[in-house]
């Protein structure tokens, strides 16, 4: 049996219904484990004090926010090439989750920024690229909701997702280039894992895995919702046209 069989709507509904509790359960378990471990059983950082604990929400949400876009890209490509409706709706379902994750990362970052950098916001290249990603999410969602005909909306948003990906990546490089060009002092953001000792690292990996599963569960759930919404759309259209 080909893997595409799972894109058959009925099959998808059946399989996702069975899968959802397991994924959701695993997500809850991992998140709870990672967060409790991180928040309560790690030492305070000698530089950042208590505020280091926000990392267990900040980094996973940022990670998910970025990867949600790539999931949308893949789903859009599948829709364009093979025209599986479930795929189009999965992309649509992922967008608001990605946006919320972006917001969570921005907010936790801002809250963290206050004690660390003395400001809620700085035009650090990484933060900037992240904000731009948020803008792409907004445009994508706005286009979906502006177009009445569902297949046309799926086509157009998929094209936008393709083009948008290229420009989101370009923007990331542009942002790095832009800030470097100003000879501002060293980048404020903590760089890479080597700064973080294992004590912080292990629970972090755990909560990243938890957030990823959470994203998966939410996408499944929202795709199911989108499928029902689409069906509702069809039914009300049918009622109107009858």
């Amino acid at each position: 049996m080909s893997v595409w069989e799972y894109a058959n709507p009925r099959r998808f509904m059946a399989v996702s219904a069975r899968l959802l509790p397991w994924v959701a359960g695993a997500a809850a378990l991992l998140c709870a484990a990672g967060l409790t471990w991180g928040l309560f059983f790690t030492p305070e950082d000698f530089r950042m004090g208590h505020s280091v604990k926000i990392i267990y929400i900040h980094v996973p949400s940022a990670f998910v926010a970025i990867n949600a876009w790539f999931m949308m890209l893949v789903a859009s490509l599948i829709w364009l090439v093979r025209r599986h409706h479930v795929s189009a709706l999965a992309a649509r379902a992922a967008a608001p989750i990605g946006l919320v994750m972006t917001l969570v990362a921005l907010l936790t970052g801002a809250i963290w920024g206050k004690p660390m950098w003395g400001t809620y916001w700085a035009w650090d290249p990484r933060l900037t690229a992240f904000l731009i990603l948020g803008l792409f999410y907004l445009g994508y969602i706005a286009l979906w909701s502006a177009i009445e005909a569902q297949d046309a909306a799926a086509d157009l948003t998929s094209i936008l997702c393709l083009v948008g990906t290229v420009f989101a990546v370009l923007s990331r490089y542009a942002a790095q280039f832009w800030n470097q060009g100003l000879h501002q002092g060293a980048s404020l953001s903590l760089d890479a894992e080597e700064n973080i000792s294992d004590v912080f690292w292990q629970p972090l990996v755990l909560s990243i895995a938890g957030f990823t599963l959470l994203f998966l569960a939410l996408v499944l759930l929202r795709t199911r919702t989108e499928i029902r919404r689409r069906r509702l759309h069809s039914l009300s259209l049918k009622a109107r046209l009858a």
């Binding site: 595409w4 069989e5 894109a7 058959n8 709507p9 009925r10 998808f12 509904m13 364009l80 093979r82 025209r83 599986h84 409706h85 005909a149 569902q150 297949d151 086509d155 499928i227 029902r228 689409r230 069906r231 069809s234 259209l237 049918k238 046209l241 009858a242």
Partner: protein
């Protein structure tokens, strides 16, 4: 290409050629243009099912049917603007479409408008002059399209057909707003087009005074239960 699970067999959107349909039929003049088992949709609704007819070169076909029967839908499909859901139809490359909007630019004169379409369709000044003569547009040739009355505008829009040099005309209510003289002129031009081996499909509610076959579109109305492409009909009850 594997069979698509959701039953959608339409044209992929990304095809640049409007209708690279595997069984598209490109038929030479004087031969039949065959439309068979065509299913047409409008917006998200399926409007017509199983449309089949043949059109001989040199003949006109009048689409009949009450308001909302699907005449416009069929014409837009045949023109290659809306991809058909399924079925075979002649290659729209050979067709010229004239709908409710005339495609005239308000700021350009009638002559400029026609010359533009001539350039786009690769014909020349001779065709433009022919079109102006055919629809008696000489007194209006230097008028901006914005300064035309409804019927004059429609005449200029129809003149565009002669400028395309195509041999299948798809006309959606061509005589709207035309007075009696202009309708006669249009019938004349149409007869000339048919005599030269061209063909035409027209949707109209009134009698044009040209000999033509008729097709009642209402006979192909999609069944109630099939009016929508609903990929999730089975998945969610």
């Amino acid at each position: 290409m594997p069979e698509r699970p959701d039953g959608f067999k339409g044209i992929p959107w990304y095809a640049d050629d409007p209708l690279p349909h595997p069984d598209a039929l490109r038929i030479k003049d004087g031969m039949d243009r065959v439309v068979s088992e065509l299913t047409c949709c409008r917006g998200e609704a399926i409007v017509l099912e199983g449309v089949s007819f043949a059109l001989r070169g040199g003949r006109a076909l009048v689409l009949r049917g009450p308001n909302g029967a699907g005449k416009t839908t069929l014409l837009r499909t045949l023109a290659g603007l809306t991809p058909p859901v399924s079925g075979a139809m002649p290659d729209p490359e050979g067709a010229a479409y004239a709908g409710h909007a005339d495609g005239l630019k308000a700021q350009l004169t009638v002559a400029e408008n026609l010359a533009f379409w001539a350039a786009i369709f690769g014909t020349g000044p001779a065709e433009v002059e022919g079109a102006i003569r055919g629809f008696d547009l000489a007194p209006l040739r230097e008028r901006r399209a914005a300064e035309l009355s409804a019927g004059q505008k429609r005449r200029a829009g129809l003149a565009r057909l002669l400028v395309t040099g195509r041999d299948l005309w798809l006309l959606d209510e061509p005589t709207v707003s035309l007075d009696r003289t202009a309708v006669n002129r249009f019938a004349c031009v149409m007869r000339g087009h048919l005599d030269a081996g061209g063909a035409a499909i027209l949707a109209t509610h009134i009698d044009l005074g040209i000999e033509a076959d008729e097709l009642d579109v209402a006979a192909f109305a999609a069944k109630r239960e099939a009016t929508l492409r609903d990929p999730f009909a089975e998945a969610v009850e």
